[in-house]
Structure formats: structure tokens, C-alpha cells
């Protein structure tokens, strides 16, 4: 029956396909009946969070604050100058930073490539990305000790340790508190400006008569924005994570963190959309097709993470230079069965092999419960990845699990969600006036 499929494709003419695409908004979709041209661009759908947002804010802020206080109290009981707490906090914070930066990347990318399919999800991304100033505040427990020169985890911030170490002395022109302060301001400055820019213009688009002008404006900003994002993300990853072990270096580390950023947001977005839909928001606008696409991105960046992680490992493994391999050796302590080696094995199988086969099928990506399962799975794996990057500094023998880890994670996530809920509660959760919205609503995977 399908014997002539090839011919159909061969005969495709560009002129007709555009004509078809615009016609498809009304014709091809299953949820027919939405008005293609005039009037409101979206079907009768609830796009406001309202009171639900307020209650989410109260709950998340409460839980977050309690968890952070608990973490600090538990941390002070360790009597190690808050070293254990700081490491837990850095783990949780970088996990959250990956999500926040991922959201900013995602929004910038959709604007940059003029994506049509993602318009219905764009506002959620913009709201999450706009957490940049909140992230800057959440970074303070990591950053303030560095400024004060008494960080218990960053050896390079401590004058005495720098004096005692030839290597740290050598790296001091880059790794010093003053320059770090400058970089810190630049990072969060860029992220705040960029995310505010997108949210502000996108909201202005809702109110404007014709959205195409602001659409073009945002697309123009996305190019330089993406370059700025890439540079700041890379150096932030160097500063916050790689410099924990200031003897080690990998030029690939920025891309490694990027993989986590993009995977985070593509795992978090479907969860956020499902949560909203359960509360009657965006129920008609976000369809299986959008979830399917987010699932594809999850799958792609699961593979991308493995590709980058292995590339980084193999280059160091092959060159076999002690100063480079020591970092990996510390993460293989205990072999496959225990210690850090077990965590490495969990990352290999849990972060790549198992989800690779898990996310391979289109049916899994199109079914919400299964997609949610893998989204949560990958978010957990990203946390384990951060733990694997940070925690060997706490205990070289093996993972030192502690309630502080969980308290820090719940704390920062609670604050993040509270911030997002507060921002979202009085906004349209969909760009109602974007010229591409009809296409996004009628979007179908072939």
C-alpha cells in the first residue's frame, strides 16, 4: 500500500508545502475547530495559574526554607567549619543551576532557530529562566566564603593554601577572589539581563497588536545571547565545579555541564507541563505531540551527555598523564562494586545505557506516565552526576551519604519553585499573540 511513498516525497515542491503548512492548522489536526485566523489565537483554554500559583508558592517556599535551615543546622553539627554543608550545597546548587541555565538556553534556542512547535511551552521556559537573580542569591552561601577568603572547599580562595602550593600560586591570576567576584557579577548579570529581556518582550508581545515585530526582535537578540550564554556557562562550570579540585583541568568541562543543562530543562519542562495540565491549565494547548518532541530532546541529550562524558574520559585515559588521570582515578576508587567506582558505574548505566533503551521507543515518549518516569529518572541522574563531580572532595573512599545532601536539594528546589510560582501566577502561561502560535497548537509529528 505504501509503495509510492518515495514518489510523494520526490515530487514535493517547496511552494506547495508552505501553502499546506498554513492550511494544515485547520485541516490536519485532530483537535479541529480552533480558529485559524482572526480572534484569539488559542482555543478556549485556561492559561492562568491564579490561586493555585499562590498556594504552590506558599508550600514550596515553606518547605524550601525549612529544609535550608535544617541543612544549615545539620551542617553546623558536623563541626568542620561548614565544609560538609558547603559541599552538599554546591552539589544541590549546581544541579539547580543546570536547570535554570538550561531553561535560559532553551528559550534562547527556540528564538534563535525560529521554532514553531515550542511556542505553547515557551512561556514556561521563560518563567523558569527568569530565576537568574534568585539563583544569584542562592549562590551566596558558596560565594560569600570565597570573597572572605575562608572558603572551606575552594583551596584557591585561601591565601595560606595558595602560598603553600606552587600550582595554586601559578593559577592565582585566574583563580583569585577578586577576579572571581568580577566573573560572578558578569555571569549572573548576563543571565539576568538575557532572561529578563526574553520574558519582558514576550509579555509585551501578548499585549501588542501584531506580535511579529517583537518576535523578530527577540530572534535578533538570541544570536549574541547564545554566544554570551555559552561563554558564561562554560566559565561558571569551571569556577564552581572544576576548581573544587584545582589540580585538575579539562577543556571539555563546559560542554559536559552544557549536556546536563539541556537535559535538565528538557526533562523538567514535560513535568511542569503535566503538573499544570493536572490543574486545568494549558489542557488543550499542550498535546501529545509537544511531549513527544520534548521526549526526543531528552533522548538526544541523554546520548549527547554520554558522548561528551566518554570523550572527556577517553582523551585523558589515552594520554595517561598523571596530572590528568588522578581526577578519574579518585572516581574509580572501589572498582565496580563499591565506593566511587560504583557511582561511576551507576552513571554509565543509569545516565546512559538504561535510559537510552528506555527512551528509544516513540510510544514511551508519547505516553505521559512513561515520559514523566524517565524525566524524573534523568533529573535524579543529573543530581548523581553533580554528586560524583563534587563529593569525592568530601570523602575519597566512597559516597558519604548524609541527610544534609537531601535537605540542601529540597531547600534550593523549594526556593526555585516558589520563585517560579510567584512569577507565573499572574501571567499568561502561553504567548497568546505570537504569530507562530496557530502552528504550534496544530503541530504534529509526521
Amino acid at each position: 500500500m505504501a509503495t509510492e511513498k518515495g514518489k510523494q516525497d520526490a515530487g514535493k515542491s517547496p511552494k506547495k508545502s508552505t501553502e499546506k503548512a498554513s492550511g494544515g492548522a485547520g485541516g490536519g489536526g485532530k483537535s479541529d475547530g480552533n480558529s485559524g485566523g482572526s480572534g484569539p489565537h488559542y482555543p478556549g483554554d485556561n492559561i492562568r495559574l491564579g490561586a493555585v500559583g499562590q498556594s504552590l508558592f506558599t508550600k514550596a517556599a515553606g518547605i524550601g526554607a525549612v529544609a535550608l535551615v535544617l541543612a544549615a543546622v545539620l551542617g553546623s553539627m558536623e563541626n568542620d567549619g561548614f565544609r560538609r554543608f558547603s559541599l552538599s550545597y554546591v552539589t544541590a546548587f549546581t544541579w539547580l543551576l543546570a536547570l535554570g541555565l538550561g531553561a535560559l538556553f532553551w528559550v534562547t534556542l527556540q528564538n534563535l532557530v525560529n521554532a514553531h512547535w515550542s511556542i505553547v511551552l515557551r512561556r514556561i521556559g521563560e518563567v523558569l529562566a527568569a530565576s537568574a537573580p534568585l539563583l544569584a542569591i542562592l549562590a551566596l552561601p558558596v560565594v560569600v566564603p570565597i570573597f572572605m577568603g575562608n572558603s572551606s572547599i575552594y583551596a584557591w580562595s585561601n591565601t595560606h593554601q595558595v602560598e603553600a602550593s606552587h600550582l595554586l600560586h601559578h593559577k592565582a591570576p585566574y583563580l583569585n577572589p577578586t577576579f572571581f567576584l568580577i566573573r560572578f557579577v558578569v555571569y549572573f548579570g548576563v543571565w539576568t539581563l538575557l532572561s529578563r529581556y526574553f520574558l519582558k518582550n514576550s509579555l509585551a508581545q501578548d499585549a501588542s497588536k501584531d506580535g511579529s515585530g517583537l518576535m523578530a526582535k527577540m530572534r535578533t537578540a538570541a544570536g549574541p545571547g547564545m554566544i554570551a550564554w555559552g561563554l558564561t556557562m562554560t566559565f561558571a562550570a569551571f569556577d564552581l565545579l572544576m576548581s573544587l579540585d584545582s589540580t585538575w583541568f579539562s577543556t571539555m568541562f563546559g560542554v559536559y555541564f552544557l549536556a546536563s543543562c539541556v537535559l535538565s530543562i528538557n526533562s523538567f519542562l514535560p513535568l511542569a507541563a503535566m503538573w499544570l495540565q493536572k490543574r486545568g491549565v494549558l489542557t488543550k494547548s499542550v498535546t501529545t505531540e509537544h511531549y513527544h518532541d520534548l521526549g526526543k530532546m531528552m533522548f538526544a541529550f541523554t546520548v549527547f551527555w554520554a558522548y561528551i562524558a566518554f570523550s572527556q574520559f577517553m582523551l585523558l585515559w589515552y594520554a595517561n598523564i598523571p596530572e590528568e588521570t588522578a581526577w578519574f582515578k579518585a572516581r574509580f576508587v572501589g572498582g565496580w562494586g563499591g565506593g566511587w567506582g560504583l557511582i561511576s558505574a551507576i552513571l554509565l548505566f543509569g545516565h546512559f545505557v538504561i535510559p537510552f533503551f528506555g527512551l528509544l521507543s516513540r510510544h514511551i515518549k508519547r505516553r505521559r506516565p512513561t515520559l514523566a518516569f524517565w524525566a524524573i529518572w534523568q533529573l535524579v541522574m543529573i543530581y548523581i552526576d553533580m554528586y560524583w563531580l563534587v563529593m569525592p572532595n568530601a570523602d575519597p573512599a566512597g559516597p558519604p551519604f548524609s541527610l544534609i545532601d537531601l535537605a540542601c536539594l529540597v531547600g534550593v528546589l523549594g526556593v526555585f519553585i516558589a520563585g517560579a510560582a510567584m512569577r507565573a501566577k499572574n501571567l499568561n502561561l502561553m504567548p497568546t499573540n505570537d504569530p507562530r502560535l496557530p502552528k504550534s497548537l496544530a503541530f504534529e509529528n509526521l
Binding site: M1, A2, E4, G6, Q8, K20, F310, F313, Y318, L446
Partner: protein, 410 residues
Amino acid sequence: MSDDHKPKAASTAPELHGILAEYDTPDQLLNAARKVRGAGFEKWDTYSPFPVHGIDDAMGIKMTVLPWITLCAGLTGLGSAILMQWWMNAHDYPWLISGKPLWSIPANVPIMFELTVLFSAITTLVGMLMLNGLPHPSHPLDLVKRFARVTDDKFFLMIQASDSKFDEKDTRDLIDATHPVAVESVMEDRVTAENFPPALVYGLIVVTCGALVPVALAVKARHSKSDKPRIHLIQDMDAQPKYKAQRENSIFADGRADREALPGTVPVGHLNEDDHFFRGRAQGGWARTFPAQVDLSEETMARGKERFGIYCTPCHGQSGAGDGMVHKRAEALAQGGWIQPSNMTQEYVRNQPVGELFNTISNGVRNMPAYAAQIPPEDRWAIIMYVRALQRSQAGTLDDVPESERGSVK
């Protein structure tokens, strides 16, 4: 096929292939497809200038098995890569390179990745073509004039006459009910003995025979001997009017292309007259003393230690016992094919004249390569000085210890 005999074929065998309906819009096509599907037909298809959204549902096309084929091919590629690399590197031709394990997964992952992708991609392409029955050089629809517009702006649907539900009148009524712009009977385009053009037959015979000629020549060449040089198809700059090293040259009486220096001349910087310094020879044998050019000082000793550390320790070890890192790693792998470097403090090496040691470093011995190209002569002598010190340290007697320290050694 030439046009002139198509009418002939049609007049002799007017066999119906199917009924073709033409539509103006994709929506009409979708509606028609739903109706035809509802009537229970199996052998029918739709044709459009571009992929029409929803046509799969309307036609009831099932999900393709292609993804499963691709998955199997990918796993086959992965397995092939593992097996191939294991067989080549660890089994059939194990060859130890700088102490790396013969069989280690990380080194093999890039090939595993590549072959997984390669097998998947090629299988997907070939599988797609096969599942679609492509390539399909001719089709009865090729003869329908109006069908040409399927590549431009028209949409078609055809029900084949070979379908079990097909009935010329009923089917036409069904198609008429879908409001097509035009309906046309498509005639079979069977190739029979009568309508096959004779010119094409002869042409094919000639082409086939011609195609066999290169094969025949290759077979002949492989099974006969010839003293002529091989045919050199791509010349690049392989053959040049010049003589290469170690080649014959009929111009000279001795037939050698390499010319020796003229008698009584030496290239600049190549005099190397001093046999003792440059070759370690003196009085017709190996020199037993250091040449006069070598300054027997602490400085030279330090230089010798440094050079020894760079060039010798990887194999011979810090103490010269033949237990360097390369040896240790090769030994730890226990994969055979490795011979331990010499212990240079053992007696027979201790008894060798310095000139012989110099020769060993310069020209190599047994498995040890020559180092003349890497280490200048003065450094070779400095290394020998250090080696002598190492040998002395391993063969010391109590007499070597200063009187005042002897008590602590005992």
C-alpha cells in the same frame, strides 16, 4: 521504451490495472481515503506532491517495522565492532604497544559507536527502499498523462483491479461518490514478447557483452604471467625523471645511483675524524678510556644523569637494572612477546670497554635501537660516565666506603 509501440500494446492487451481519481485539495484526498478505507479495500494508494498530514490515519497505514530493523542493525554493528577489534587486536595479532593492554574497552568505544551508526544508517536507508518496493523503474501510472501533476499541485487516489473487492462498476461508483475532479482507468503496462522492442533486446545483448570485457581481461590478467610492468592508471608524481636512493643507474660504471663523495673530500661538518670520540675505537679495538674532548667533571656527570633519565630509564630503570616503567607495564600485562631490557650493572657489561658501550648507544644492540640520531656524541660519553658510576654503585666493596663510615655499614 519508445512511444511508437505503446498504442500497439494497448490495442492487443487492454487489461485494467486500476481506477485513478484526481482531487484538487489534500482535504478532498483525506475524505476520499477514509471512504475507500471504509469500503475495505486493501490494494490502493494515494499520491500527493508533499506528505499530507493525517493521511496515515485516513488510510489506516500501520506503524512501520523499520525502527525494529534499525535497532537490530545497530546492535549488530555494535557486536561486529566489539568482535572485530577483539579478534584483530587481542586474538589474531596481539601486539603490545607502549604497555597499553591488548584488549581494553575504552580504546574500542569509538569504533563501536561508528559501526553502530553506520550499520543503523545504511540499514535504515536500504530497509526503507525495500519496504517501499523501491527502486521501481516503471509503473502503469507513468503512462497516465494527468498523473504528471502529482509532482506539482494535484492529489490522486488509485484502487487496483487486483484487489479482491474490486468490481469495475461498483468501485467506480464509490470513487464518483468522493467527488473527484476526474476519474480515469489505468491500463496495465505489461511487458510481453510482442511489445518488447527488438532494438532494446539487441542493445541489451551488446551492452552486456561489452560489460563482460573488462571482467574477462581482469580474469585473464590474474591467471597469466607477464614480464611487463603493471598498468599504472593514476600517475600522480610516482614516475619522475630522477634517481631515487638505492636505485640502479646505468650511467655510472658501478651502476649505483647513490654516488660516494669524491676521493679526498668530506661533506661540511661530517669529518668526524676522531675515531675515539666519534666511534669509541682506539688502537684497533674498543677504547678503554674516555676521549680527551670529554671533560671528566661533576658537570658532565650531572649532564649524563639528566640524559640517562630521559633516554635510558624508560626501559633500563633509574638504577640501570632493566626494570623501567615500560618493562614493568609490559610485565604486569603478562601477555608475552616481551624481553626484559639488559641489566647494565651486571658483570659482563661492567667489563665492557667504554668504547663498546659507546658503540651500543650509537648503533643499538639486539632489541635496543640506535640512539646516534637522537643523542650527540658528547652526551653519549656523558651518559657512559654516569653508567660507569651506576655500575660502580652496584659493585661496591667495603673498601669504597670512607674509613669513618665503615662502622655504620657493617
